[in-house]
Amino acid sequence: MKNEMRKINHHLSDALLMGYAAGTLPEAFNLVVATHISLCDECRARLGAFEAVGGAVLEDVGATDMSSTLSDVFDIIDADKDQVRSQPTKVKSDIFPDALRDYVGGDLDSVKWRSVGMGVKQAILPTSRSASVRLLHIPAGGKMPDHGHRGTELTLVLQGAFKDEEDRFGRGDIEIATEADHHTPIAEEGQACICLAATDAPLKFNGVIARIAQKFAQI
């Protein structure tokens, strides 16, 4: 990842961070949270605090006798010693953090876009079905796709920016919308806006493209 951190103005909520720390969010939300944290040290530190609560719970939970022994564990360790030192290798400065690259199979140029009309393109990423996540490509100046007005929708900007009546969302910023939010954000002029958007409401599709997209979504 890039060493420099852009100033991020819109962050994760405590509830999302706690859910991510506890491991109870749907996979699609986990992907958006992990991608945001890759870009945001403030939320990385807040996550560390919520994980510390998990550590405290672990210390407080009591103890259950194990049937396997220390030597069982050393047998596993000694059977595959090559794995001892797998250092992370990060030399890139891409648009997608690694967490997202793993789902796309590469960076921005590897995305298999499908047009959904009005110049907007999307690519649904394979996750468990309790929530869904997709990449969105909105042309500069274009209207953002409408929120489903059901459930929670997380929208993380990866390139370009979008604006609504009150705020601007640039790279790394995350918008957390619930059914109460009714607004129509617009992509900023100059550069196409690329976002990672997750929702726990079912996506709605219409027409021919819909059937293709639906099929794709059922991976």
Binding site: E27, R46, V53, E59
Partner: protein, 217 residues
């Protein structure tokens, strides 16, 4: 809520859980500070064991970690809904991961129990929920980025105070927090659970990240 303030002030409009956590935390903080500086603490011991596993693959140090944390990880997984056999298998896996990833442990950003919790959580999602777990990109380490001892000690103190604060919560509220971490609350139910006294530990981790970012330049 999380804030950067080093002093903990009781806000007026937070849920009851938050209030209780806060007052328990403040009380305990005062008492704990003396104890921590007086003797080698439990946390200190585990951090030392991890350092030995990390630097010289010390099997005795690993044995101590295994004896203490193995049964706790197993209990945690069973409380999280795993069967006895699944919890056993998963705990073995957690211990193997602890050994293999010891070089990634950063004592200025997490206590040993916190780090082991994150490994257990991830193995639970992987082995039991059969889902992938997207993780934030790792920050790379250079030899020059080894944490300062004072940072490590500071983080340990904050972690112990947090353990104490949670242990002192009224039974009902403590159960609620445990339920959240055992996976018994949905993410919308968790919304009620914010307000733990996490501002100071967050500030510590934030400083460690800044040092790391600086060293990476």
């Amino acid at each position: 809520m999380l804030n950067d303030s080093e002093t903990i002030e009781a806000p007026t409009n937070l849920p009851i859980v938050a209030e209780a956590a806060r007052s328990a935390f403040v009380k305990k903080t005062v008492r704990k500070r003396r104890a921590v500086s007086a003797s080698m603490t439990e946390d200190n011991k585990w951090t030392d064991c991890m350092a030995r596993v990390k630097s010289s693959q010390d099997r005795e140090a690993f044995a101590e970690l295994f004896d203490y944390f193995g049964p706790r990880v197993k209990a945690f997984l069973m409380k999280s809904g795993s069967s006895m056999s699944m919890a056993e298998e998963c705990t073995q896996d957690v211990m193997v991961t602890l050994w293999r990833k010891a070089h990634m442990f950063d004592a200025s950003r997490a206590s040993v129990s916190t780090w082991i919790f994150t490994i257990a959580r991830n193995r639970r999602i992987d082995l039991i929920r059969k889902e992938r777990r997207p993780e934030p990109d790792e920050l790379t380490w250079g030899p020059e980025a080894e944490p300062e001892q004072s940072e490590v000690l500071g983080l340990q103190q904050e972690s112990e105070q947090l353990v104490a604060a949670i242990a002192e919560l009224p039974e009902k509220q403590r159960e609620l927090i445990q339920k959240a971490y055992f996976g018994d609350l949905t993410h919308s139910e968790i919304a009620e659970q914010t307000g733990l006294p996490l501002g100071t530990i967050k500030s510590r981790i934030r400083l460690a990240l800044e040092r790391l970012r600086h060293a990476m330049k």
